[in-house]
Symmetry: C2
Subunit: 140 residues, 2 copies
């Protein structure tokens, strides 16, 4: 489905199975629908989930900034939601998304999971596709 | 890499970037290496991560049972770790695994994410590949 099918306000039939953690959050995996690449793990609260469903793009709860965060609000790297899935326990969500710009990570890489364990350390396995300075502008 | 490359005890060069939550846990996404299907989201504490690295199979921390849980210890549905990745913030892990038996979910399905949002509710999108009674035996 596309999120266009989703009711503007998610009904209890959708919400009742969800298990929110002690902070009122649920972990959300974002996976690129086209390639299957896992892009990132983020968090939603109830408001973020409702906005995501209503707008059809990923809106997360930023734990560092303690506010709703529309993915791509600064970078333009919006995640269009193609499908939303829930796990057997109702305590994790999976979004199949179209990653605008092909870049999910603030480092300018496709995926936030760009380091792989190799023996004694983490090895970077992905190229920087766009300099963060060109994504967000120079730091003040 | 395969986890055979990993040191028996993960060195500080591997551990230092990891951000454990207030419960000493880190969320772990398990993805089938062959198909790219996201299988489940689970949690590791430090001991679970060390055992996973040492044994080359996924060992999680069961929050419900409050103990280390070798995935497949009852069902035989072990997850052989083909790669371990960490995200940009160091607060999530991604395992690329070979899911033994092709079943990750305790419901007998390939993936724990077998329900997809469709309008007013969740729709089951995956078949039961094996009756849980035949996986775990009848409930006493």
């Amino acid at each position: 489905m596309t999120m266009d099918d989703a009711a503007e306000n998610l009904p209890s039939s959708v919400l009742d199975i969800l298990q929110w953690d002690e902070n009122g959050l649920i972990p959300v995996i974002a996976q690129e629908a086209g390639t299957g690449r896992v892009l990132m793990l983020a968090w939603m609260n109830h408001a973020a989930l409702q906005r995501s469903a209503r707008e059809g793009v990923a809106v997360y709860w930023s734990r560092s900034r303690q506010r709703l965060w529309k993915k791509g609000e600064e970078s333009g790297h919006v995640q269009r939601i193609r499908a939303m899935r829930v796990d057997c326990d109702g305590d994790a969500l999976l979004l199949l998304v179209e990653q605008q710009g092909g870049i999910a990570c603030h480092t300018g890489r496709e995926s936030c999971f760009f380091r792989e364990l190799a023996g004694e350390g983490w090895q970077c396995i992905d190229p920087i596709l766009k300099d963060p300075k060109d994504i967000y502008g120079p730091k003040p």
